[in-house]
Assembly symmetry: C2
Homo-oligomer: 139 residues x 2
DNA sequence: TATAATTCCTATCTTTTTTATAGGATTAAT
DNA sequence: ATTAATCCTATAAAAAAGATAGGAATTATA
């Protein structure tokens, strides 16, 4: 299941996308509007920033904005930044690969092969730019 | 990520499929061969049994066997028995549905719509009978 | 230049979930 | 009887998730 952290992060990214204003948006504003615990959100924003998904302006009147064009941001990027691998088993993850301790032969592992298919399908959908989400919602 | 419990369970099911012998297979034998902690495996087998995926014979010379034809068993069934929902968010789960506390309108929720697509694709693959896994491994 | 609003940072705490173990009751073959 | 199993309840240990605390640093603006 998606962690609350990732869900909060996705909501934050969508919120920033929905408010492409000239002034940055404060963590407090996001926390209030999206019902996210403020201090938890601070941590999330720090992670989003370190992964170059948002940028920040410090000081009074400071806040956050998307670090790149929404067309360049996907849910997959947010999920990876928050929770790590998208794959359900580590031995097929592209970015977080780990071999299974007991696995004798990855090439012929039936479990691996099945979850590899699952991962491919998941990534295909989750890599779509968040800008397409708005369109989907209108269908 | 897949829990160890689910992974152990899948290995157990595949092991039983690979050994369709006349005599039931003991938990000890499975634990030894698949490197699963024995007592943990006992719990897993109990869950698999309560979900009608394996059957057991008690007493000396007892053990476990698949409760139905392998063509009627899928990884999805095992995952649901062990970890619950396959969906990444509860509001689109068929069997474990829960509404999101804050969600204002599920119909237009962009997150929900996206993860609904993901779930559909995942289920499509995970519902395949485990008998097809053997074929896939030979490709 | 003081103040207030904000990000930034480190650390800690709490709760939940996951993983695993313990001990014994029950069953049935030999 | 003995032994090898399943079955059952309970608990413990470890890890992860979720959340909070306190304050340092930065910056607009009054």
């Amino acid at each position: 299941m998606l962690s609350k952290k990732a869900k909060y992060a996705i909501k934050t990214i969508l919120f920033l996308q929905d408010h492409p204003e000239l002034v940055p948006i404060s963590a407090k504003a996001i926390a209030d509007r999206e019902h996210i615990p403020y201090k938890f959100l601070e941590n999330i924003l720090r992670d989003l920033k370190s992964h170059q998904l948002v940028k920040s302006i410090r000081g009074a009147e400071g806040g956050y904005a998307l670090a790149k064009d929404p067309s360049q941001i996907s849910i997959a990027q947010v999920m990876r930044a928050m929770d790590g691998p998208i794959a359900l088993i580590p031995c097929i993850s592209e970015r977080f690969y780990e071999s299974c301790a007991e696995c004798e032969d990855e090439e012929t592992c039936r479990i691996r092969r099945l979850f590899s298919e699952v991962r491919t399908e998941m990534v295909e959908i989750l890599e779509r730019p968040i800008t397409t989400l708005a369109q989907e919602a209108k269908k």
